[in-house]
Structure formats: C-alpha cells, structure tokens
C-alpha cells in the first residue's frame, strides 16, 4: 500500500491512464484548431470534439447537439444561471435555489441579486434534502429558473431531482442542476429527470482539470441562453473561445469509461464505503453521519467525531488525504455552511470529516484509515475537555461559554 492515501475524490480525481492516452495525440500531431474549416488539421480536431460530445451526451441520455463545452463546472453554472436570467428577463426575475449549493451557484445568485433579481434560498431538512412543498410554495409567476444540485459535494446527499423536474415542468419553469458530483457516478438521464440544464466537470470523473460541459435542452422546451463570453460564436453562440480539444477529448473518454463501468464501480465503492462506516461505528462511540444515508452517493461518507476538532484530526492522519468542515480548514474561517444548514450545531461541523472514495480505493486503504482514525480520535478525546465534561455528566448545551 502506498502512502499517502487519497480519499478526497469529491475534490478532484486523478486522470485515468486510458483518458490520458486518448488525449495525447491531440497535444502532438493532431493539434489543429477545431474551428479551422479549410484543412485536415482542423477537420481532425473537429471530429474529435464531436466524438467527445457524443460520448458525454450518451452518459446523460442527451443528444450530442445539446452539449456546450466550457472551462469547467463553475463556468457551466455561471453560464446556465446568468444566461437564463438575462435571456428570460422579460418573463420574470425570480430564481429558486438552495442553501447547500456549491459556491459557484450561490455566489452567482448573489451577484444577480445585486443586479435586482430575486432569489429564494430554500432551506434543507435534517437529512440534507429540500422539502418539495417548500419548493412549490416558493414558486411565483415571476420564477424563471430552479437551480438545485443533484448531489452535494460535502455530504453526498442526492436531491429528489425527478420530482423537482416534474414540478418545474408543470409550472413551465426551467430547471438547472449542478450534477458535477453525480454524473458518471450514479444513473443520470436528462429526460427521465426532466432537467433543462446540467453542469458537468471532467476532473470529477477521472478526466483533466479545466474542462466541463453544460447540457442545454433543445426540445420541450428549447432553452436559450445569453452568452457570457463573446467572440467568434463557438458552441452555438453560447460560449465563444477556441475549443480546448485535448481537454474535451479527455472529458469524452472519461464519460465513456464512467458509462461502461458505472454499475461495477458503484457496487464496489458502496461496499467499501459501508465497510468504512461500519468499522468506524464499531470502534468509536458518539460519531454522527451528516445527511441522509439512504439518498447518498455510493462513494461518500461525512461523519462528525464529537468532542474532537476536525483540523487536529486531519493533523493526526496526515498520510490520509480527506477534508473537514472545520472552520480552521476553510479559507473563510467559518465552519461548513452545508453542515450548518443541516441544523446539527456548529460544534459538529467543526468535528466533521468528508471521505470521498474512488476508482483506486482499496480494502486495505479503508482498513488503514479506520485504524488510524480510531487511534487519533481516542487520543484527541483523552485531550478534550468536552469529552471529559460529558463523561462527568455535564450537559454541554447548558454551559455558559466564555467567548470573545
């Protein structure tokens, strides 16, 4: 077993060697610009881009013409939300989203709010999912877009996308989903789910960084977007800029591999994840799973280890790459807003660890992580005044803490 162990597959994934092999010729001899229409170098690049478009479309049950290539999911989210807001300005000015969305969605919505749009941020229930009745109640005749992520990047909770799609369809509202963590990992079909816009990222599915896609429905309804990057009219005029041919080829190959192996990979990862969860629960008391276990990505686990602070926990397992919702590990020095939204209390957010398993995670690695974590949690609890107080029978929630 090689150290350090990577168990942070929600952050990014390594490029699959088969993906890299597919990309290489497009760095070398096949270097053409896909927009060069009058020579074989351009044709070759264009063919590769179109083949990749088909591969990505096949993964999500779409038509290849409905895919726009971008620089990644942040751009896809920006294009979908800002593009709709601008294009459908006459129709309405209200967007519905959710408090646990990725910052690429939240910050985009906040920017639009500054420009006068109205945004509703739906809360989530204890299990991390939105309440469909609250969604229905939030819809007004000015609502032009619902944007709800398919699966959350921290807690892996999968939202009721098909139900949201049905509600949006019935009310004639466009539905965008940031499906970065879900596409390629769990079955996803744009027609079954009734989604109109879908953000996809290559580097979350064993493809390269810096490339992504946006699915834009062409029929029932035909979705229009105001371009956010001008110049040249590439990608049906929705996203100008010379196509990142190597990246796109990589995204296409990555999508194809995910489609081929999804069933097998999902089963394997679910078994590994459940083993991780079960063993941690056998070894340690007072550990809490954040978010629904039923509606969750098969390769995700997010657990709070009560009375132990997340960053100190990470320090103790420094040969294992995972992430924490603790304030000390975030740039903002705020604990995870996703975990806070679950209503479990900030103290549990500070104590959380996110595990993201992936294509190369092994049984041996899982066992190593369980062992190591168990030791570190026990050691830190011996050092924790909170753990001591609880063992003495003190109710921490009734304490008056001295804060700054």
């Amino acid at each position: 077993m090689k150290l350090p162990i990577y168990m942070d597959y929600h952050a990014t994934t390594p490029v699959d060697p088969r993906v890299l092999d597919a990309m290489m010729p497009y760095f070398r001899e096949k270097f053409g610009n896909a927009a060069s229409r009058n020579h074989p170098f351009g044709w070759e690049a264009e063919d590769a881009v179109e083949a990749a478009r088909k591969q990505v479309a096949d993964l999500i049950g779409a038509n290849a013409k409905e895919l726009i290539f971008t620089s990644g999911a942040t751009e896809s989210n920006n294009l979908a939300i800002k593009g709709v807001a601008e294009m459908y300005r006459e129709k309405g000015n209200h967007i519905i989203t959710c408090v646990t969305e990725h910052k690429a969605v939240i910050d985009t919505c906040k920017k639009l709010e500054k420009q006068g749009l109205r945004v509703t941020y739906l809360p989530v229930q204890k299990d991390g999912r939105i309440d469909l009745d609250e969604l229905r109640a939030a819809i007004t005749d000015k609502t032009i877009l619902i944007t709800i992520m398919t699966a959350n990047n921290e807690i892996g909770v999968v939202q009721p996308i098909a139900e949201i799609g049905a509600i949006a369809k019935e009310r004639g509202i466009l539905f965008h989903t940031d499906a970065v963590q879900a596409v390629g990992k769990i079955p996803f079909d744009v027609n079954a789910l009734k989604v109109d816009l879908v953000s996809i990222s290559a580097h979350k599915i064993y493809g390269p960084k810096g490339v992504g896609a946006l699915y834009v429905r062409r029929r029932n309804p035909r979705v229009l977007l105001a371009e956010q990057i001008s110049g040249g009219g590439h990608e049906r005029g929705m996203r100008s800029g010379t196509l990142n041919v190597t990246g796109i080829v990589g995204l296409g190959k990555a999508a194809e591999l995910c489609r081929q192996d999804m069933e097998k990979d999902t089963e394997r990862l679910r078994t590994l994840r459940d083993r991780l969860n079960q063993k941690l629960h056998e070894n340690l008391d007072e550990i809490y799973i954040n978010g629904s276990m039923e509606h969750r990505l098969p390769h995700n686990l997010n657990i709070s280890f009560a009375y132990v602070e997340g960053e100190s926990l990470l320090m103790g397992i420094n040969d294992v790459a995972v992430s924490s919702g603790s304030a000390c590990t975030s740039a903002s020095l705020e604990p995870s807003y996703v975990l806070k939204a679950l209503g479990a209390g900030d103290d549990l957010a500070h104590s959380s660890i996110r595990f993201g398993l992936g294509r190369w995670t092994t049984d041996e690695e899982v066992d190593y992580v369980v062992d190591k974590l168990t030791k570190v949690v026990r050691r830190l609890r011996e050092m924790s005044p909170l753990y001591e107080m609880v063992k003495e029978g003190v109710d921490l929630s009734k304490m008056q803490w001295v804060t700054h």
């Binding site: 009375y307 132990v308 603790s326 000390c328 050092m383 924790s384 001591e388 304490m399 001295v402």
Partner: protein, 143 residues
C-alpha cells in the same frame, strides 16, 4: 496549512495533558472558548500558597493543532513561575515561540485568556477560603 516544527511537536507530544482536582483550594481552573467556535481550552494551575509559585499545570484542549500547541506551551511556561509572573505572559510570546501564522493568533489569545482565567479562579478560591468577599464576578463558566 504547513505547521512549524514546534507546533507539530506539541501536537504529537503534548506536555502536561490531564486534570488537577478542581475542588482543591490551591488549584485554579480556567475554561475558555466555546464548542461552536471550534476551540475550548481548560487550563489548570496548582499553586503553592506559601510561595505563590505554580507547582503544576495541566491542560485539555478541543481545537486545532495550534490551539493544542498554545495550551501545551502555556503549561510548560507556567510551571515554576509565580502567579504574578504568570499573569505577565503575553499571547505575542506564544505566537513568536510557535511561529503561528496570522490566522492562528486567536489560539494564542485563547491560551492567554485561559491562564488569566485559571489564576483568577485560584485567587477567588483563596479569598473565599480566607473569608474575603469576592471583589467582582470572575469570568468563569458555570455548569
């Protein structure tokens, strides 16, 4: 975040982890921070009432590596100091010793607060034992 070697050392080999009998009249206990803020420090001193010198110091900390290191270092420094010398310890000295980056300065502030709270508790207990009325409310959490 990359930690200094001293922080890593205190994290891996914390000095003086544990608890002193909190009902002992010669023991002062400081408990500062809050779980929802991500750090809580409990720092205790045992003072020799004859000499006013701190004989022993213990801590328990819920917090990041810097918080653990700051409190561990504080207990090291406290031993052998008089109560008055202990009160003179500044958080900036802890920052310098551990090479804490700016985002971790609050950990050193918390350690200084914990020292002050522990000594205030000790003085209050001594006063009470001698039958002196406490001058003011001390910053002590009550369960």
């Amino acid at each position: 975040m990359a930690y200094s070697n001293k922080v890593v050392d205190h994290y891996e080999n914390p000095r003086n982890v544990g608890s002193l009998p909190k009902d002992d009249v010669n023991v002062g206990t400081g408990l500062v921070g809050a779980p929802e803020c991500g750090d809580v420090m409990k720092l205790q001193v045992k003072v020799n009432p004859e000499t006013g010198v701190i004989d022993d110091a213990k801590f328990k900390t819920f917090g990041c590596g810097s918080a653990i290191a700051s409190s561990s270092l504080a207990t090291e420094w406290l031993k052998g100091k008089t109560v008055e010398q202990a009160l003179a310890i500044k958080n900036t000295e802890i920052v310098a010793e551990l090479s804490l980056p700016p985002v971790k300065i609050h950990c050193s502030v918390l350690a200084e607060d914990a020292i002050k709270a522990a000594i205030a508790d000790y003085k209050k207990k001594q006063d009470e034992a001698k039958g002196v009325q406490p001058a003011a409310e001390h910053a002590q959490p009550s369960a």
